[in-house]
Symmetry: C2
Subunit: 360 residues, 2 copies
């Protein structure tokens, strides 16, 4: 097992990475001071891991409740968040209650926001069971829900007290979701570590086969990169926004298709191709670098061709994204392979990019 400390002063917390961690009570020690424990999970993950986790938590001798939500991004809304609050109140949760998010990014984001808002803030533990959640959404404290007019528009920064990434849960992941998670792994290489991108390229088949050693390194290095960025800029005043590489285009794809049609990681994968194309058009990376990155993304069985919404619709969808400031869209670009930058770009070059990628 590897342990990584996310350094955020009084809000610091450990990330544990390894196999069968769900069974290790010691990792859940923060539950000792809790009044009650609520596992929040979904209908896909519950039959696989909820019983094992419950057994692990029983050692603390606290009341344990289970809240099971339907599975999918389309349920990441107020209505389903409310179901968490309903059960918390029905079963007597108080300020010392601990929530445990058992599932992917949707469960983590919703449980985290429920923890941020319930009685103005209670503690929670992340037990991410998808690769996307292990390498991205469970680290960094971003929580929230979607609004019909935009993704993650309502939320909070709320750090977990621990992240417990059990690599064996990835073995039950559908191939499509594994690929979606690998998109974020690639992203970490592209924006912050060219050597890591080399390693990903060389280990593509091991990663696609969910080889434990390869996966352990991919998760660890991703969490290291992400947590270093988050430690430097917890509330996204600056550098943290580089983690959104591929996300401005990606969110437009997700919103335009209707949440849940494309997986988040799929949209990010395709969004990175578009972001790389834009970086190439601005003369920041060369054609070979653009093509290599696209090839790595494609090699993980991720879509690289965006849906053809047309330029006007893309720009409209991106305008509503949180990365707009005073009306102008801020793009995350590659300054070079392994280094990201954020800037506004004239619409003309964005439109060229949309045309070149087949989006318009």
């Amino acid at each position: 097992m590897k342990t990584l400390e996310v350094d955020l002063g009084t809000r610091s917390y450990p990330i544990y990475i390894g196999a069968d961690l769900i069974d290790q009570s010691a990792l859940f020690n923060a539950c000792e001071k809790a009044s009650s424990l609520f596992i929040v999970t979904n209908s896909t993950v519950a039959p696989l891991y909820a019983e094992r986790l419950t057994k692990t938590l029983e050692k603390f001798g606290k009341p344990i409740h289970k809240i099971v939500l339907p599975d999918g991004e389309s349920y990441k809304d107020w209505k389903h968040l409310q179901l968490i609050f309903d059960d918390l109140l029905k079963f007597g949760a108080d300020r010392q209650t601990m929530l445990i998010a058992l599932g992917g990014g949707v469960i983590g984001d919703m449980t985290g926001f429920a923890a941020a808002s319930f009685m103005r803030g209670i503690r929670f533990i992340q037990v991410p069971t998808t690769l996307l959640a292990q390498v991205d959404s469970s680290v960094g404290g971003k929580t929230g829900i979607n609004h019909p007019l935009g993704k993650n528009m309502i939320g909070a920064f709320h750090q977990p007290v621990a992240v417990i990434a059990d690599l064996n849960t990835l073995k039950t992941l559908p191939a499509r979701e594994l690929s979606a998670g690998l998109a974020e792994v690639i992203k970490h290489g592209a924006i912050a570590d060219a050597h890591f991108l080399d390693w990903i390229e060389a280990n593509a088949s091991a990663l696609l086969a969910c080889d434990t050693n390869a996966m352990a390194y991919a998760v660890l290095r991703s969490c290291e990169i992400k947590s270093a960025v988050v430690s430097a800029d917890e509330r996204e005043g600056g550098i943290r926004a580089t983690l959104n590489f591929g996300h401005t285009f990606g969110h437009a794809i997700e919103a335009g298709m209707g949440y849940g049609q494309w997986l988040h990681g799929e949209a990010v994968g395709c969004g990175m191709v578009m972001g790389a194309e834009l970086s190439y058009r601005l003369g920041q990376i060369n054609q070979a670098e653009f093509e290599r990155l696209s090839k790595i993304i494609r090699s993980m069985n991720l879509p690289v061709e965006p849906p053809k919404f047309g330029a006007e619709r893309y720009i409209e969808l991106m305008q509503v994204d949180k990365k707009t400031e005073g009306g102008s869209i801020r793009y995350v670009l590659l300054e070079k392979i392994g280094k990201a930058q954020i800037k506004s770009v004239p619409d003309a070059q964005v439109i060229e990019t949309l045309l070149a990628t087949g989006a318009a």
Copy 2:
């Protein structure tokens, strides 16, 4: 005009107290760096002050939008919070948008929670137009909405960038709401400053007549007491909970009657009589002190007789209150006049208190 600084490190902010402050653009200077301004108000306050405030804000040359909610505690729910998010997104709000809460405690709490959650946090200014909001809810950063199973169960700590308390807005306040605000003024004396309680007792008629000089002092001293407590304990780990004197019983009254039947301040006034009765039964204050406090509360035209729900129902309603910890209810009591304390009390003595006050 008086200025008071709430000392919270990087989240410090000024409270301005005086007449006709709504017209003074300089007090709203934080709007200079905003991309757009959204006034959030209600259907009662909008016709009185929204136009004046809009005129004041026009000096900043930013787009100004107005969101008007229905008036009342019964609308402090998710459905109406959602109306704020809907308009923010419809009219292109971004992370540099400033919200301005123009109204009483409900508007302040909802606008504050909208600001806390929209895009994971934007800035807001409080312009409290009720006495309750000026002396209590607009200071300290508690924001939130109600849940059918409990008051303020969903929310966040989110500090405003300024509080602008225009004393002249109190002149349009219905007598019942003025009294409700005076309950919190009395509370500040009872829990923290015996001399202030003497002053309140001596100036009861001036306060009830909304005399500007008397009100200026009552608001200033209340804000001083509250902000000192909040500075010492922003997230209510300890001493801040003393501000909840009268609130455990009071919330039970509000919830039991159905939100909106009793005004919050009325429930707190009556809750303080119950809290004082309990303090007397525990031998912490004497009968004369209990009677004096009840008399001051009654002198402000506040109800001092609780609704007769019965002991079981009261305890059930109080159990769900946030001040329970691990199942046992934490009461805010008077150690003496001018000093509060927090402790658990055996149910037997609580039941005696409920019987003695006519609640059971």
